[in-house]
């Protein structure tokens, strides 16, 4: 019996998606409830099942009955299903392997972070040196430097929207190279 070796998680999933795996259903409660409540109303007066030739749900025709959408039932089922992954249990060798990889990854990340930080620091220091040179050595009494330090529009205009675009491998085929930014009306 292959169906007996199916894990309960898989069995319940198969159950929900109506995949016939075996005759013995491991978690029959909810899907069977679905079938009975959605497609066939549980009416004590009418026990016999009649074939309905209407495409609308029979429950809609009855008054005073709450109709629960089947999608909501499914959403509730999956929202509350305890389908949490099992905790990882490693034996010694695997644990040591995990530990080694984890340490190596942390080391790599730290090196990367440090390299980035140093690069930013280098850029900042280069800007600092350039501005100092502009202030003292440009020969215009620092006028250019003072102009360059005006930042009134930085926080008002911010980045242009053409800049704000996540990096991709390259512009796709639909890229319009002749596009120019429309000039604002004066």
């Amino acid at each position: 019996m292959r169906s007996l070796t199916l894990s309960p998680v898989l069995a319940s999933l198969a159950n929900v998606f109506k995949i016939p795996v075996s005759q013995t259903i491991l978690r029959p409660a909810l899907p069977l409830l679905n079938q009975t409540t959605i497609s066939k109303p549980l009416t004590p007066g009418r026990q016999e099942t009649r074939a309905t030739f209407s495409t609308s749900s029979p429950l809609l025709k009855q008054k005073g009955r709450t109709y629960v959408d089947k999608r909501i039932t499914l959403i509730r089922y999956f929202l509350h299903h305890p389908l949490t992954p099992r905790p990882l249990r490693f034996s010694r060798g695997r644990y040591l392997r995990h530990w080694t990889i984890h340490r190596a990854w942390q080391l790599y990340q730290a090196n990367r972070r440090r390299a980035k930080q140093l690069e930013l620091q280098r850029q900042w220091q280069a800007m600092n040196a350039a501005c100092e040179e502009l202030r003292t050595g440009a020969g215009d009494g620092g006028k250019l430097f003072r102009k360059s330090m005006i930042k009134t529009r930085v926080f008002r205009d911010m980045f242009p929207i053409e800049y704000g675009r996540l990096q991709t491998e390259g512009p796709g085929e639909g890229w319009n190279h002749d596009w120019k930014r429309p000039q604002p009306k004066r």
Binding site: V68, L120, F155, L166
Partner: protein, 355 residues
């Protein structure tokens, strides 16, 4: 003599085949600089001893004979756990004095262990490669060497002692309200603003007025777009026309995204959802809590544009797909820095910019 002549020429010509020649072998017309090096090194390789690793066999065998794993294991002061030993982390951390404490979250046996990261999101790559250094450049303010900023007045003012009751009184708050705003330091290479976390919050009033299915659908929609388990919250305020009482009705679902989840969500938002919004001018320029967190809202139809909901649209009751508020928390201390960061990452702003 005539018979020995071909053999002599053969003996002379045979080793020439194997001898390294300065010309390239074969019919290749192109010569590479590495060709000569390789032919030269092949002759140099002959000087190397080929049995280098086999020389020390005797010492190795001695080491192998003297190695006794059982004695070595017994001589350990603290025994290693058995291979099949399964450690169960305690549920609660009861403090440093408790003998049994949970392992660090990086340990796979920890209850907080999250495997990953499994990807390098595009948002992170863009930020690291361009956005960070561009913000650094835009916000650079030059101070000459030796410059010291003038000391500022203390943020909490002291009471002038004209009344005897001022003695030992707590300090006054700043002018214009009692809110002590965050201090903004000039942006240098070590405090460039970046994304910290994203909160998706959805207030579903029908969860109180009608039934719980609204909240369930909202929760699973948020889970679908955020890849994070949602939390539900009860109302803290009373809304009389909707019949909502504080502390009674569960009306909201919230998902908090960090790290990889956050970056993937932000990428989807910027690349897929926001460009498809009809007549969307952007985020309002007055949005923000003046400490670097920007909030904007998406309506029901806009939430339905997320690819996870769109591909599976039929599985959600269309009227129950929630709208939501998205708060982007950044490490910036003021809204203008946060807005600068978000505009560099692709979120437009409109209207009057208020800091």
């Amino acid at each position: 003599m005539a018979a020995s002549e071909p053999s002599r020429t053969l003996a002379r010509s045979l080793p020439r085949v194997f001898a390294p020649s300065t010309r390239a072998q074969g019919f290749c017309c192109r010569r590479y600089a590495s060709d000569q090096a390789s032919t030269r090194s092949s002759s140099a390789l002959g000087d190397l001893e080929s049995d280098g690793s086999l020389k020390a066999t005797a010492e190795r065998q001695d080491a192998a004979k003297s190695f006794d794993p059982i004695a070595r294991a017994r001589s350990r002061r603290v025994q290693l756990p058995r291979s099949r030993y399964q450690f169960r982390s305690p549920k609660y951390d009861r403090g440093p004095l408790h003998p049994h404490r949970p392992p660090p979250p990086s340990d796979p046996s920890s209850r907080l262990f999250v495997p990953g990261p499994f990807s390098l999101p595009r948002v992170e790559q863009t930020y690291e490669s361009t956005v960070a250094s561009d913000i650094l450049t835009l916000c650079y303010v030059h101070n000459p060497p030796g410059f010291k900023p003038p000391p500022k007045a203390p943020r909490l003012r002291s009471w002038d002692g004209d009344s005897p009751y001022h003695k030992n009184r707590a300090l006054r708050g700043p002018r214009g309200g009692d809110v002590l705003r965050l201090l903004r330091k000039p942006i240098t290479f070590n405090n460039i603003p970046k994304l910290e976390r994203i909160t998706i919050h959805s207030y579903v009033k029908q969860a109180a007025t009608e039934n719980s299915s609204w909240l369930h659908v909202a929760g699973i929609a948020l889970q679908a777009i955020s890849n994070v388990r949602v939390q539900t919250y009860k109302s803290r305020s009373s809304v009389a026309p909707w019949g909502i009482a504080p502390g009674r009705d569960t009306v909201a679902a919230k998902a908090e995204l960090h790290g990889e989840d956050m970056e993937h969500f932000f990428g989807k938002l910027v690349d897929v959802v926001l460009p498809r919004l009809k007549d969307w001018p952007g985020v309002k320029g007055t949005s923000g809590d003046s400490s670097g967190n920007i909030t904007f809202g998406l309506s029901q139809e806009q939430v339905a544009l997320f690819p996870e909901i769109e591909v599976n649209y039929d599985m959600y009751p269309p009227k129950m797909i929630p709208g939501c508020h998205i708060t982007i928390h950044t490490t910036a201390k003021t809204d203008k820095d946060a807005r600068l960061l978000l505009s560099a990452m692709g979120i437009p702003f409109y209207g009057k910019i208020v800091d």
